[in-house]
Symmetry: C2
Subunit: 414 residues, 2 copies
C-alpha cells in the first residue's frame, strides 16, 4: 500500500534523526506538545464532535462511545501524561554492560531506540498522544493506525504533536497517522517489515489475535487476562475476601481484573458462602462448579467454557480445588499468563505458586490489579505483555528500546 510505504520511508529517516536527538530536545517536544494540546483544546473537541456524531449515527454507544469522547478534562489528562513522560529518565544510551575480553577488545552493550514502532489501536484518541509520548521519549519514530471511528480526533491530535516536533526542529514525520482506516491498511502495516521494527496492537482480544496471526513484523502481544485468585486452605480469611473482591470489582473491565476464583476444599464449606456473598453484594454474578452451587445456591452452574473466559464484567467463575497442585495446574491450563494470585500464610505453598505458575506476574497476598506500569513504578506504560519474548508484564520505556553491541578495538583480528 503506497501510503504505508511512503510513511515507512519517512519514518525511517525521522528515526535516524531521533536516534541522535538529546534528551533535552525530546523533553522540550513533550512539554510543547502538552501545552499545544491545551491551547488547541477547542479545535480538538470540535473535531472529536464529528467523530461522535458519526458514531451515534452508526449506533455506537456505551463504553465504546465513552472511550471515543474527548472532553476538556480528558485533553488535560493527555497533556499531563506527556509532561509525566518528560519527567521520566531517558533510558536510551544507558550501558547495560561493558567488559574487556582477553584479546583486549572492550565489548559494551548500549541501550538504543527500536527505530520505527507501529501501533494499531481502536477508537481511543487518548492513545494517540500517549503512544507518541512513550515512543518519542525513547527516540523512536511512530506510525499510528487508529480506529476509523476516531479519525477526525486523531488527525487533530497528531497535527498538534507534529507542531511540537517542527517547532523543535525535528521532522514532523516522527509521528504519522495512517489516514486510510480500511482493513487493508491494518493488513499492510502487519507486512511492513522493511520499515517497521516492531508492531504493538492495543485493544481487545480480537484485534490482538488478528495482529499476532497475520503480522510478519515482530509483535508484542498485549493484554488478554483470564486472571485467577486462589484462596489456599491456609489463607487469612479477611485478607482473602478483600483480595478477591478487590481483584474482581475494583475495575472489572480491565485485563488485570480477576475472572476466576479457586478455593481449597478444606475451607470451602465456610469460605464459599462468605466470599461469594461479598461478591454478590457488589452485583457480581457467580458461576460455580457443582459444589459451589450447593454451598451458594444463587450461583449459576459454570460450563467448561467458563474456565477460559475473560468476562471483563461483573461475573466470576468459582471452582473448588483439592490442593495447591490442582490450583497451579488449573491456572496453567486455563489462564492467559497474565496475573495470578495465591492467598496463603503457608510458606511452601506461596513459594510453589510463585515458582510453578506460568504468568507475567504472580502474586502472594495482593490484588491482581497491581499489574500496571504506574503501580510497578515505571511511571507510564505502553501495555502489558503476555508473551515471553522481549518483554513480559507491564512495559515501560525500557521495553520500547533495543540494544547494540559497541566494540572498541585496537587492531584485533582472528
Amino acid at each position: 500500500m503506497q501510503e504505508l510505504i511512503e510513511k515507512g520511508q519517512k519514518a525511517k529517516k525521522a528515526a535516524f534523526i531521533l536516534g541522535k536527538t538529546s534528551t533535552l530536545i525530546k523533553n522540550s517536544v513533550l512539554s510543547d506538545a502538552a501545552d499545544l494540546l491545551l491551547k488547541n483544546e477547542k479545535t480538538i473537541v470540535a473535531e472529536n464532535e464529528k467523530d461522535l456524531k458519526a458514531a451515534k449515527e452508526n449506533n455506537i454507544k456505551g463504553a465504546l462511545l465513552d472511550r471515543l469522547t474527548l472532553t476538556k478534562a480528558r485533553i488535560e489528562s493527555m497533556a499531563d501524561g506527556l509532561k509525566q513522560i518528560a519527567a521520566l529518565d531517558d533510558p536510551v544510551g544507558e550501558m547495560l554492560s561493558m567488559k574487556k575480553r582477553p584479546n583486549g577488545l572492550h565489548i559494551g552493550q548500549r541501550r538504543v531506540p527500536m527505530g520505527v514502532i507501529g501501533i494499531i489501536y481502536e477508537a481511543r484518541p487518548n492513545v494517540t498522544a500517549d503512544a507518541f509520548g512513550l515512543c518519542l521519549k525513547t527516540g523512536n519514530a511512530t506510525i499510528l493506525r487508529g480506529g476509523k471511528e476516531a479519525i477526525h480526533s486523531n488527525k487533530a491530535v497528531v497535527k498538534v504533536l507534529q507542531q511540537a516536533l517542527t517547532s523543535n526542529n525535528l521532522p514532523m514525520e516522527s509521528v504519522q497517522l495512517v489516514e486510510n482506516t480500511t482493513r487493508d491498511s491494518a493488513v499492510a502495516m502487519m507486512k511492513l517489515n522493511e520499515y517497521l521494527d516492531i508492531l504493538i496492537p492495543r485493544g481487545g482480544a480480537g484485534l490482538i489475535k488478528a495482529v499476532v496471526e497475520n503480522s510478519s513484523v515482530p509483535v508484542i502481544e498485549t493484554g488478554v487476562g483470564n486472571c485467577h485468585v486462589y484462596v489456599d486452605s491456609f489463607a487469612d480469611k479477611k485478607m482473602a475476601k478483600e483480595i478477591v473482591v478487590n481483584s474482581k470489582t475494583h475495575r472489572p473491565g480491565v485485563c488485570n481484573a480477576a475472572e476466576s476464583l479457586l478455593i481449597h476444599k478444606d475451607i470451602a464449606y465456610e469460605q464459599v458462602p462468605l466470599i461469594c456473598q461479598a461478591l454478590a453484594d457488589q452485583d457480581v454474578e457467580i458461576r460455580g462448579d457443582e459444589e459451589v452451587c450447593r454451598l451458594f445456591p444463587s450461583a449459576v452452574k459454570a460450563t467448561e467454557e467458563d474456565w477460559g473466559r475473560e468476562y471483563l464484567d461483573y461475573i466470576i467463575s468459582v471452582k473448588i480445588v483439592d490442593s495447591v497442585n490442582e490450583a497451579i495446574n488449573h491456572v496453567n491450563t486455563y489462564g492467559t499468563n497474565h496475573s495470578e494470585v495465591i492467598v496463603t500464610e503457608n510458606y511452601s505453598h506461596a513459594q510453589q505458586f510463585l515458582d510453578q505458575v506460568d504468568a507475567a506476574a504472580v502474586y502472594v497476598n495482593a490484588s491482581s490489579r497491581f499489574t500496571d506500569g504506574m503501580e510497578f513504578g515505571f511511571g507510564a506504560e505502553i501495555g502489558i505483555s503476555t508473551q515471553k519474548l522481549h518483554a513480559r508484564g507491564p512495559m515501560g520505556l525500557k521495553e520500547l528500546t533495543s540494544s547494540k553491541y559497541i566494540i572498541y578495538g585496537n587492531g584485533q583480528i582472528r
Copy 2:
C-alpha cells in the same frame, strides 16, 4: 498437523517439569548425553551413512554434503559442546531486580525458561545436539525440525539425548524430533502458537525469510550478514589492510564475514590498490565502483545489486565514499544490521560511527569476525540475532530465557 499437536502437548508437560529441575540434574543430563554420544558413535555414523547415501543419489555435494557428514571427530565435538554447556552458569532463577514499592509490595523480576522452543534448521545434524544442550540448560523443552536430508542422523542423535533424559528421570519429550520433514510440517510449526513460545530458524537466508514471513509464533531472526568495513581517511594503514583481509577471508562462508569495503576518497589513490591487491592475493574477486576499477584495473564493475549482496564467498564489493556520513548512510541503506566496522584513528569519526550505524555489533578497529557468542564470552551461542526485539547480536543462554514478576504482598489491594 496431528504429529505437531501431540508433540506440542508433550513438550508443554515436559517444560513444566524442566522449569522446576535443578541445575545439578540438568548438568547431569548434558554430561550423560555427551558420554552416550561417544558410546553410540558407531551407530550414529552408520545412520548418517544412510543420509549420505541418499544425499549422493540426490546429487547433493560440496559444502552441503560436508555439513551433513558426521565423523568420529564431529561426534566428539558435539559431545564436547554439551560438556561446555554443562560448565556454564545456569541463568534461570536469577533475580534481575527486586524493589519495594511505597505500599509495601516487594516486586521482583526473575529469569525463567521460555517454555517450549522450536528450532527449524537445515541438514546439519550437529545442530541437533547443540540446540538441545542450550535449550535444556535453560530449562526449555525443544521441538526440533531438521532438514529431511539428515533425518536418520537426527533420529539417532535424538534417541541418545532422550536416553540421557530418562536415565535422569526427566521426560524424554524434553527433546522431540519432528519426523515428518515435508514442507507441511515446517508450516504447521510456524502456526503452533498454542504450544511453542518461540521459534528460531537456523540456516540460510531463504529459510529465515520463509519463517519470518509465515510464522505467527514469535520468531528470533538470525543471521543474514552483509557486513561492511569502512576505511576512514584517518585509518592506520597497516591495521586497515589487516582488518579488511581478516574480515573477508578468515572464513568467507559465515554471516560475520565482510561483504563490502568502503574507502574514503582522500586515501583512495594509495589504499585502493594496496588493499585490493592484498585481497586479490587471497583469491578474492573485487567488484568496484568506477573509481575503484580505474585504480585497480583487475576489479570487475559492481552493479547496484552488488551493494546489497551477501556473497558468502571470495568476492567483495568496494566503493569510494566522500565522508564518514556517506559511509554511515551507505551502511544503513544496504547493510543487514549485523556487524559493521570502521577503521580510524579519528576520535569523532569513531564515536559517530558507533552512534549512528544501526547494527547488532559496531566495531572500531577490529575485525567483523568477532561477532560470535564464544568471542563475546558467552561460552556458546544459538545464533546471531539481527532483529531488535528481545535479543540483538550473539545469543547465549540468557537469550533463551524470559522473565516473570513475582510479587510478595501482605494483603495489599487497590
